[in-house]
Symmetry: C2
């Protein structure tokens, strides 16, 4: 097959866009060897034609008019690297309906408007690829859609936000929350406004996309049960260390008896679990399925060049599958109900600040037992002044049952603060009961 | 695009073949949703028509004649799951030349006869895919060829043999080599004849394939510098533990200044390095490249269903890219020279059994310094009876220089046995010198 020149366009020409252009230029030969085609950026949509660019675009490439891209019949593939939900969303919809394949790095767009976007792709008879929207260069979307085609994935477990993972590893070695955040900002891992990271919103968007692709059922961002890391205090970090665990912001998506459950929250992770070894700003995603047992992908979950690398791989994949019908369908073909929140199960950790007097332990144990929550590990610390801290790790328990038990506990005179539970992530079974 | 029925054939119908047929049947709908096509096994080549099969093939499917597959123009995709270099190799060559796409799970075939096979594929204008030949369901080939298209991968580091990894994790907790091997055989991880695993031959075949694909230059199995785990003794395991390391059979492929170096050997892996966390029969492959920093894939590296899952994904990918020119070229387009063995660099560990008398340490230090090998960590143990053991970890050193130094050391009167060096795998920089 003779080499074919493929004109492509970009929406946005910032850090990622310039990196896409640079890599396309520097590695044009590699791409041609793999696909038989040479990709060339002919248009890039920007707001300001005169801004300085990292890797300059060719003359006449920059434009401020989306119509120049929409109306150009020679452009069949467009990469959206501008970010934001609007105007990016409207542009992408128009491009798909106009029969142009689109590759996007925009997780908020895919998580919030996926249904609309895939419908437009189907209308236009084109592909929408979005590898770079989840964990940058970690190829979790391609692996899920292509390599694990017959794997029946039923669980996705991951650390999908590098900023908070960096902060938590800093807090593990003694930083306060504020120091860890400042350090993440200094190193460029966190934005000036870190809200999306620390509240878990960024991780929730990625988990909504992963759950949708893994289970072939649309999962809305608003359905993800999300708790951020902004509620963690140094006492929790110290408690985790004493239990030989670490705190990580963990996303979990599960398919349980035909019901889907997706949640993001700080979790106590056993130090021997692979997720505990994910250090700094790295991400990791574990995929569990019938035919594969468990496959884990780990790497940098962000970065301009990393994102550009994934965008280009998607463009090459679009070109390499054009006209064959491959991945042209929306991954969503069924509508699975959500698991009722109280029905999700997990082992949990919580601690109680209690009066240190006879009978307290019995009352705590009774409140848990009444709700069918059984204790796996228990540690008691005297805090002086007549107070003690109880650290409790439960066996697998229904969330609803745990919350009921914690409400009972919070109402006890001997208990000083309403306890805050964390799910526990561990591969190890616990013994019947471990008193430490 | 309307659904198209795609007749496919299998070479071999053992554990993997039967699992391919079962998954193709059970998940025909999933495959059709992704590819627009339904795959159906119409022929399966076997030696014995009457043998009992795990998942029975349909009537008239089993055949003992390759010609029935070769001569059937309706069959465009064939999966080779029979194993062995011959007759599998001859069949695959004939199929490719006849214009049929081939998917193979056969690492020995790809590692030994890759050049011939890819030439035949090119002649026939078809694809040869081989995901299942390296680490079963871990999609490292697809990720390298498609996702990391512009990543400029320059290092591949991995644990690619589950049997030996299982044995080493058993030895870590106290088993002897013989006990660990017996346990691996009992659990079905090791064959009755474990030679290929314990000598490193199996890992070497996988590393030759990975190096070839990662660096786009053919690397022959016979070029891989291979040391097995059969030379490890319990003293080494204990020494690793004392240094806060573990012993793993590690494959390394590196591209250094335009030269390729590929080796497999037991290595001392820092306990904080991700490879140290790979437990039991799991595999892990780390890919380092310019645009991605480091991406790690981990999962089960063997198993019938896992292998079948990868074979089916490859068949679907062939169908999804037919006629587009994608991945039709051999990944090899250049011929890079091998790095001279002595020029490979690594930090190393070795121990010396020496007479415990004044001046020994000085002579050891001098022999190393004369060869520009600098010491990073040093531990001394009195063994009683006038002997001592010296445990040495070096900074990054040329292999040639290390061997020269070890020869000098072996010739010293005070040194009792020729020392056996292990490469050290660590992410941590060492301080200038650590005396323990």
């Amino acid at each position: 097959m003779a080499s074919v020149d493929v004109p492509v366009a970009l929406l946005g020409y910032g850090t990622v866009g310039a990196a896409v252009n640079r890599l396309l230029n520097e590695q044009a030969d590699d791409i041609e060897r793999a696909t038989g085609h040479r990709l060339r950026i002919v248009k890039a949509l920007v707001r300001d034609l005169d801004k300085d660019r990292g890797f300059p675009a060719g003359s006449d490439v920059l434009t401020t008019s989306i119509d120049e891209i929409l109306a150009d019949p020679s452009i069949t593939v467009v990469a959206e690297v501008m970010g934001g939900v609007e105007p990016a969303g409207g542009y992408v919809l128009d491009l798909l309906r106009a029969g142009k394949h689109v590759v996007t790095a925009n997780k908020q767009l895919v998580a919030r408007r996926g249904a609309e976007l895939f419908e437009a792709a189907s209308e236009g008879g084109v592909q929408l690829r979005f590898e770079a929207s989840v964990c940058a260069a970690i190829p979790v979307i391609k692996v899920l859609r292509e390599s694990l085609l017959v794997a029946n994935v039923h669980r996705v477990l991951g650390i999908v936000n590098g900023t908070t993972n960096f902060m938590l590893t800093q807090m593990e070695v003694g930083s306060t929350y504020e120091e860890a955040l400042a350090e993440a900002q200094r190193r460029g891992f966190a934005e000036a406004d870190p809200t999306d990271d620390v509240t878990g919103a960024d991780a929730a968007a990625k988990m909504a996309i992963l759950a949708t692709i893994a289970f072939n059922s649309r999962y809305e961002l608003s359905d993800v049960d999300t708790i951020g890391i902004d509620r963690i205090d140094p006492l929790d970090v110290a408690a985790a260390r004493e239990l030989d665990m670490v705190i990580r912001l963990v996303g979990q998506a599960r398919l349980v008896d035909g019901h889907v459950d997706v949640r993001v929250s700080p979790a106590f992770v056993d130090r021997h679990h692979p997720l505990a070894a994910v250090e700094g700003a790295f991400n990791a995603v574990m995929l569990q399925g019938d035919a594969i047992r468990e496959i884990t992908l780990e790497g940098p979950g962000a970065g301009g060049v990393e994102t550009a690398s994934a965008v280009i791989a998607d463009m090459a994949s679009v070109i390499g599958t054009m006209g064959t019908g491959f991945l042209k369908n929306d991954a969503v073909w069924r509508s699975l109900p959500r698991l009722a929140p109280g029905d999700a199960t997990s082992p949990y950790y919580f601690h109680l600040s209690v009066d240190d007097r006879p009978g307290v332990l019995a009352r705590v144990a009774e409140a848990l037992a009444e709700n069918s929550v059984s204790i796996a590990r228990l540690r008691q610390h005297q805090n002086g002044e007549g107070r003690a801290a109880l650290h409790v790790v439960t066996h697998e328990a229904r969330q609803g049952a745990l919350h009921a038990a914690l409400e009972t506990l919070a109402a006890l005179d001997e208990v000083h603060r309403p306890p805050l539970p964390f799910p526990v992530v561990s591969d190890r079974g616990f013994g019947d009961f471990e008193w430490e």
